[in-house]
Each structure stands twice: as structure tokens, then as C-alpha cells.
Amino acid sequence: MDIIVCIKQIFDLGQIMVDTATKHPITEGVARKISDFDKNALEEALRIKEKHGGTVLALIGGAKEAAKEALSMGADEAVIYSADSDSLGTATILAEIIHKIKYDLILCGEASIDEFSFQIGPRLAETLGIPVLTYVREMELKDNEVVVERNLENRYEVAKARLPALVTVAKEINEPRIPTLLQILDASKKTITEVSPAKPAAGVETLSILAIEMKRKEVILKDTENLARVIISEKS
């Protein structure tokens, strides 16, 4: 079972501060990390490999440090590319790279936790012409098929698809492992390949990102007796 895991490296959102005058996020000096659900996707790939054998390739939009982390967790090799594109562009780049690689299964996080577009997995599957199963909270491989349980708005759905297929995973599917020192040291012996695919023309261009202004009303109550009434009247 050869698995590709698509990973995006993002800013650690918890560390981002906002310029109070311009509302621009300040990203200078902010640490980057693997997007949370992508880490779940990698963990799931590693568990499948441990059960069924095969290889795990981490395909990373980001820098070498994210590749090192993925390799430390247990990926066999990593390919990194520049991630500076919109969802359509990123899916096009991923497809171009993946076309040259043999695979049975592609795993993605259901969304990146910085943009939450939920688009990369479905767009990539569409471009590659393979089935896609999204919002997956449990999965199993049986007889060249993948059987999954999907989180939908008010129900769970069990579905299956023939391989090769693409699956996007939800956070609850697993708890990602934390690499140990020895795993980190071993990872330095693994291969990281850097590719520079042509950047497709942007379908959507982000012009600016500004923080939402949350103005506090600063209502001061002298006692708590009427608190519920005040809250209800504020809401209405």
C-alpha cells in the first residue's frame, strides 16, 4: 500500500498577533507548524502502513522543517514545494507532482486550519480522476477498497470506494504521535526532495487579510441580580 499524504505548513495561529492600527496580522517571527488535520492524515497513513505494509510519502507545501517533522513521525520520504497559491492552484500543483508518483491512496486533512476552504482534497481528486471521501472519522482498507465513516451535518455515513482513492480526514480519526529524539535523529537519514512546479495562474487572488474587530460594549453592572435580563435584552 503506497500512500501519499498532502501536508500544508502554516503559521502557528496561536502565536499571531494583530497590529491594532492596521488590523494586519503580524507573522514576522511566528513559528510554523504542520496544519493539525494534515497531521491526523499522516498519522492515519502511518497506521495503515504499520498494518498493511507499503510506503508513506509526505508531499508538503512548505519548508524543510515540516518535512523533517513528517519524516520524524515515520514518513519514508518527503517532497516539498512552494505553497503560495489559491486552492485551485495548489490542487493543480499537487496533481502535477502526483502524476509522476505511483500510489494507492492519497490522504489529506479535511481542511487547513488557517483557511478552512475544505477544497484541496476534492479538487485534487477531481483533477486526478479518482474517487474522494471527505470528512472521514474512521477508515479501513478491505480487498482493494477503502471503507469509511463520514462526519456529515446531522448523521454519520458509511461509504466505500475502490482504490486508488483520496480520503480527507477529520480530527477525531486519531491522535497523532509525537516523534521521539531517536526518531528525529533517524529522520535526518531520510530523503527530502524539493520540486518547483510552475505556478498556475491564480483563480482567486487574496488582496488583503485583516483581523475582525471585536468591540467590547463594556457594560458595567453594579449587581448581578439583573444579569440574565441584561444579557437577554442585549441579544434581542
Binding site: E65, I178, P179, T180, L181, L182, I184, L185, S188
Partner: protein
């Protein structure tokens, strides 16, 4: 000159921080209140490769260098600022390294795998009732009797006595083997404590770091196998000093870890807490304190990692003399505990009356760090004597 950590060290810090935030931080208050590190925390630490981290891979360790070991210490102490887990971790890292370096092959094979698996505890037993700083005056003896070694005496203020008696394990123990030769008549041995005839232990109630016990070991005619001798007979003073040089940068790393976490939480607090219409952080008087605390912390941090780096250079590239190492380590151990105590105390005061509560979670840090000002792993005045001896020359040593 390059002050950066390697990519692997940076990644390890990230990993160990995540581990500590998940497995240690949520239990830190419970550890301090119940006075015990839960078994599952030790098992998790062992599975993650933290216990006996400097021990070589053939015995289940990670063969970590001292910079890496210091990173882990700092992160562990951030998660448990009471220092209890940091103490458990660092004595094993420091003294496990020494057995790995000088213990007999048979003792290494017998003892070290259980330390790295977290099954047994390994500590240091040096201090005696008459004092800990004057090692030449120690009175616990070890004699050769046929194929065995026999130990008599007592040790006190020893970390992990209850844990060693409960889980098994024992101590790198400083003993007199030729009393007439003063410090040149000392040896090191491994002394097991669980279910050993002639060993009795008792545990003290202490001021802080309650999660790990401190107590005494009474040793009456305890026979140990000859392969428990560590290194050469009568050479123990030098091994012990080397062991302290390995453990002390980790002690200092634990202090800055606890202080760093306290400072971070203090900064968050003063940005939110308002008085007289502004956040406390807007007051110049607060800003001066924040800057002072950060400057002191960064200074201590540089000393810690310089000492750890010098140790690594000595062991891997044969650089730096013991005199240079002694001085760098003593400076780090002298500065870090005091700096950490001052920072945690100041942050606690920023919190006002809330800081004085258990809920604020700061006072346990103050109590824990205090142990390293009192003298654990070497008294502060001894650090000063080591530094002065290296600066002035041996001929000016007062003792």
C-alpha cells in the same frame, strides 16, 4: 560563533514541549498536592525516551548530548514548575551517564535498561548528616570482603528515596575506601535500596518539589557485588565531580524552564489584568520589571547552554579542560537558581493576592526552585569556591 540549535534540537524541543503539555502539565497540580508522580507519567516519559536520555542506545537510552538533555529539562520544568519531575529526570540523566561511562559492563547491562524503561529509579547519594559540601569528611565506608563489597554508614537529603524503595533501583553512592587519603580515598559504587538486607530508608517532609521524595538511607553491613564498583578504587572523588558537572547544567536548565514558564504566564496576566483603568502591563513600573526579568532569564539561559555545549565539546571533541568545565558549570548553577527564584517571586507578586493562592500555580515553583538555592546538587557557596579556585589558583583554596 553560532548561537542556534540544530534543526534536530529545535524539532526535539517542539516534540518534547508537545509531550509535556499533553502528559505532564495537566497533572502538575495533582503531583504537587498528592506528593507523588503518577506511575503513568513515568511510563509515558519512558516510552517517549526521556528517562535516562543520556544513556546509550544499547541500554535503551537515546545517547543524547547535554544540550539536548538540557532542552528536555527546560521543557519538563516548564510543564511542572514544582520541579518534581525535572528532578526525577535530571538525576537519572546526569548519573545514568556516569554509570554508562565508568560502570562495569556487567553493571551497565544489569541496571541501565531498567532505568531507561522507567522500571527503576537511579539517583545520587553523596550528602551525609555532617554535611554534603565537605566530601572529604564523608564517613560512609566501603570495604572489600572476599568477592563482595560491604558498605556501612548513612546518606541524607537524598532525592527519590521513596521511589527507589518502591520501584527498585538505587544510587550512585560516594563512599570512603581509604579514609586516611581524604578526598583521594573516595570511591563510587552503585547501592541498591529495595528489599536489600541492611538498608532502611525514611522520607522527610519538605518545603517543595513534593512529587519526588527526599529522605535518608541507613546502610548497615550491606553487601554488594564487586561489579557495582564504579570506575577505579579510590578514584571516586573525580568521578563524582564529573557527575556533578553533568547534572548541574541540567539543574540550571530546570530552573530557567520553571522561571520561563512563570514569566510567560505573568506577561499574559498583566496584559489582561486591569487596575486604575489600564492593563497592568501599561504601567512603566511593570515594564521595567518585565524587562529585568527577561534580561536575567536570558543571561542565565545562555550560561546553561554554554555549559552544556562545553560538556558536549569535551566528550565528543576532547575540547576544554576540566578546570574550564568546572568554572562554566559552577557559574550556570550559581546564577540560574537565584535568577529563577527572583523571577517567580516577582511574577507571583504581580498577581497580588491571587498569586498567594494554590490556584495561581506559581507558589509551587517558588518552593521547588528554592531547593537549588539551598544546595541540592551543590551549595551556592561551593559554586563560588569552585569559580574562585579556578580564577585564583588552587593555592588560594581555603580548604
Amino acid at each position: 560563533m553560532d548561537f542556534s540549535f540544530t534543526e534536530e534540537q529545535e524539532l526535539f524541543r517542539k516534540s518534547v514541549r508537545e509531550f509535556c503539555e499533553k502528559k505532564i502539565a495537566p497533572k502538575a497540580n495533582e503531583i504537587d498536592e498528592k506528593g507523588e508522580i503518577p506511575r503513568e507519567v513515568l511510563d509515558d516519559m519512558a516510552a517517549f525516551g526521556l528517562l535516562g536520555i543520556t544513556i546509550s542506545q544499547e541500554y535503551g537510552g537515546s545517547g543524547a548530548d547535554f544540550i539536548t538533555a538540557a532542552i528536555a529539562t527546560e521543557e519538563i520544568a516548564r510543564a511542572d514548575i514544582s520541579m518534581a519531575i525535572a528532578v526525577y529526570y535530571l538525576v537519572e540523566a546526569g548519573w545514568g551517564f556516569l554509570i554508562n561511562r565508568y560502570g562495569s559492563k556487567k553493571a551497565q547491562e544489569e541496571l541501565l535498561p531498567d532505568v531507561t524503561k522507567g522500571k527503576t529509579f537511579l539517583g545520587i547519594a553523596s550528602t551525609e548528616a555532617a554535611g554534603g559540601s565537605d566530601v572529604a569528611a564523608l564517613s560512609t565506608t566501603m570495604t572489600k570482603e572476599g568477592e563482595r563489597l560491604v558498605v556501612n554508614g548513612s546518606k541524607t537529603f537524598i532525592s527519590g528515596v521513596r521511589e527507589a524503595a518502591k520501584y527498585g533501583g538505587g544510587y550512585v553512592t560516594v563512599v570512603k575506601t581509604s579514609p586516611e587519603l581524604a578526598h583521594k580515598g573516595l570511591s563510587l559504587c552503585y547501592l541498591p535500596v529495595k528489599d536489600v538486607p541492611g538498608i532502611t530508608t525514611n522520607v522527610f517532609k519538605q518545603m517543595g518539589r513534593d512529587g519526588i521524595s527526599t529522605g535518608a538511607i541507613i546502610i548497615k553491613n550491606v553487601a554488594i557485588p564487586a561489579h557495582y564498583l564504579i570506575g577505579d578504587w579510590n578514584n571516586g572523588f573525580y568521578y563524582a565531580m564529573e557527575g556533578f558537572n553533568c547534572a548541574r547544567p541540567l539543574v540550571a536548565a530546570a530552573c530557567i524552564g520553571a522561571a520561563g514558564k512563570a514569566l510567560e504566564s505573568g506577561i499574559e496576566y498583566i496584559k489582561e489584568r486591569r487596575a486604575f483603568g489600564s492593563p497592568l502591563a501599561k504601567f512603566e513600573g511593570m515594564q521595567f520589571q518585565v524587562a529585568d526579568a527577561y534580561a536575567k532569564l536570558e543571561s542565565a539561559r545562555l550560561l546553561v547552554y554554554k555549559a552544556a555545549w562545553m560538556l558536549d565539546q569535551m566528550y565528543t571533541k576532547n575540547r576544554f579542560s576540566h578546570k574550564e568545565i568546572n568554572k562554566a558549570v559552577a557559574v550556570a548553577k550559581l546564577v540560574a537558581p537565584t535568577v529563577a527564584f527572583d523571577i517567580i517571586k516577582d511574577v507571583l507578586i504581580w498577581h497580588g493576592a491571587y498569586g498567594y493562592t494554590k490556584e495561581a500555580g506559581l507558589e509551587k515553583g517558588l518552593r521547588g526552585v528554592a531547593s537549588y538555592i539551598m544546595g541540592a546538587e551543590g551549595a551556592q557557596n561551593i559554586m563560588k569556591l569552585i569559580i574562585s579556585r579556578e580564577l585564583l589558583g588552587k593555592e588560594f583554596a581555603p580548604y
